[in-house]
Structures are given as C-alpha cells and as structure tokens.
C-alpha cells in the first residue's frame, strides 16, 4: 500500500514539475523553475524510497534530497522578494537598441557595445 501511494506521489510530483516547467517557459519567472526543480527532487526522493522500508525513510540519507528541495524553494522565494526594482537600466537600454529607438541621452548604453 505504501509503495502504491509512493508511486502515485512520484507520478503526481513529476506531472506538477512538468507544469511548472511549462509555466517557466511561458513567463520566464525563475520561481517556476525553482518549483519545477523542487517537485522533481521530491519525485526523485520517492524513487529512492522504493528499496527502503517506510520506517527507515526517516533514518536514511533520503532526507537530504528533501532538504535540497526546500533550499531551492527558499532561495527562489527570497530571490523573488529581492527583485524590488523595475527592469534594470541595462535591460531597458538593450530593449531600446533592439527596437532602434533613440536611447535617452542621460542613460549609459556603452556597456552593451
């Protein structure tokens, strides 16, 4: 029964990770990449539990994988909250160059040459 549930959790985690990959590709928001990685790690953790008794789960190195998944999520959330400034001056200048509109004279675009 536990293996059955583990298998279901594995599959569900992988599918969720796939959705998050798709969201990342569509929005380019790093948070979704982090969620994709985290859920993939949780799925991988389930794979490793296959040869291990459920009572042994807590006492094996498998918890390290879960730790990495949590760290990835924490870093992503912190990263999202640190992005408090609007798109950087460098990126705006780059976009302006792409559209061939004149750059504002006070901005320094030379670093993109």
């Amino acid at each position: 029964m536990n293996q059955f549930i583990n298998g279901a959790i594995l599959m569900a985690s992988l599918v969720a990770a796939l959705f998050f990959v798709r969201f990342f590709v569509a929005t380019r928001d790093r948070l979704f990449a982090a969620f994709a990685i985290a859920f993939t790690l949780l799925a991988f953790e389930r794979v490793l539990l296959v040869p291990i008794e459920p009572e042994g789960e807590a006492r094996t190195f498998v918890f390290l994988i879960r730790l990495v998944a949590f760290i990835v999520l924490v870093v992503a959330i912190v990263d999202k909250n640190r992005a408090t400034r609007p798109p950087s001056a460098g990126r705006r200048a780059l976009e302006r160059l792409r559209s061939r509109r004149p750059a504002r004279p006070e901005r320094n675009t030379s670093k993109l040459a």
């Binding site: 569509a26 380019r28 928001d29 999202k80």
Partner: protein
Amino acid sequence: MNDSGIPDRVKAFIRDCIDSIEQLEALLLLRRTPRRPWSADAVSAELRTNADSAGRRLADLARLRLLDVVPGPDGGEPRYVYHLDGAHDGVVADLDRAYAERRVTVVNLVIGKPLERVRTFADAFYFRSERPPRSGAAPDSAWEDEARG
C-alpha cells in the same frame, strides 16, 4: 491608472466576464443593435463562427446578465438581446471603444488570461502587498509607456 490606454475597469471586466474573442464580438454585436433579439444561428452567421459555439457564448453572456433571454418565435430556440440600462453598460461602451482603437491590446488581454492566472501564482510569493514588478519579458505596453516618456 491607465496602462497601454485601456481603462482599469475595462481590464477588470475582461478579466471577470470575457473568456474568448468570439464572446467579446458577440457582446459588442448585440450592443450595437440594442433592441433586436438575435438567435445563435444569426450571430454565428454574422460572426462567421460555429453555431453551437455562438450559442454557448450567448448563454454565458446571459448568465452574466449582460444579455436577456427572450423566447424564440413559436417556442423555438431562445433568442438574446442586449440588456439595456444595466450597470455594465458604461464599461461595455468603454470596451467597444477600446476594441476599436486598440484591438491587439484588447485581444491580448483576453487571450492572455490563463497566463495571467499563472503569473498570479508567482505574485503570491511576493511578501509585500503591492503588485510586484514582472520578471521576464517586458509587456508590449512598455513601449507605449516609454514613448510617452
């Protein structure tokens, strides 16, 4: 405040009520002929879409109380008429104007709804209450903002 020329209440209306371009065009079509009841077949012929799908869109609009349902002639298919004097009329008028003047922006607002829902997921992890700056590709409206200076 306005962003890319579309009033906020129009954006909110699109977010809450408009799920497809077909639905948008059906609503605006019926609004332009305010007292004329339309059947699904007539709307589908006018919009050049599938009749079943037109019927579903009209039913959705009726459920939102943007249209009124009137019984068809001789008990046939129901017909739909624009609901006059409703609270929504001002917003729909703005939407009509916006669709005429900034068609691509309005279309993108409708088409982009699922992706906007996804972005809301990411926004939830922003601790502060105000809307966070978007990471990733800049929206098209950024050009107009910069042009305005």
